[in-house]
Symmetry: C2
Amino acid sequence: MDQRTRILFENRARVMKALAHPSRLFIVNELASKERCVHELARLIGADISTVSKHLSVLKAAGIVQDEKRGSQVYYNLRVPCVLKFMDCVEAVLKTSAEKVLALQQGTAK
Amino acid sequence: MDQRTRILFENRARVMKALAHPSRLFIVNELASKERCVHELARLIGADISTVSKHLSVLKAAGIVQDEKRGSQVYYNLRVPCVLKFMDCVEAVLKTSAEKVLALQQGTAK
DNA sequence: AAAATATTTGGCAATATAGGCAAATAGCCA
DNA sequence: TGGCTATTTGCCTATATTGCCAAATATTTT
């Protein structure tokens, strides 16, 4: 793997890594329907506001969300909505995994 | 976030996490064109074979790849090819991020 | 059986991530 | 100004991930 290829995949991994956390996936999902400010998301998730703020900064640094300060609140929204499409495939992975586990349990796996 | 929702996003995050590493993304990319055995991937990546073997077991545990032992070699291939579609969106994220950085540098950001 | 090849697993040190609390910062309003 | 709300940041501890080496396991070959 040459230098250029390595950097390419490191950059891609950075984006994937930003999405690889349950709270951050939840946030992305929430922002799909409408923008939200930090304390709304914190309430929905049930975590400390500072924790959620940090999750948002991870998503922002990765270029997935953008923020806009209005008054004393900061509203976040999706900058690249295509990330929502990941979910269908992820569900497909989970579904076929579940099927495989089931097949193994039932001894019907090839 | 209720119990069921939490588990849903934890499962999704598990799959995303398996993809959130440069070597593992590279592997997925390689397997897109054809199956590979461990030492081939290790050579392409330039890492220790044991390291690559562990990456493969992470992908396998997530349900993304499957393995098939033939002789003394273990061939891996993609079990859920739709993960390849992630890359287009990830590139879109990287591209718009790059544009934003450029705009900021040039002072043309809104 | 011994040697050679392919892969996995255990152990370990280095590094990264997560999450909460407390403190700092910023805007709003009386 | 002072108090109140919203958000971010620093700090710290706990936990997870990574990658290599060495050892174990499996298969093929001589």
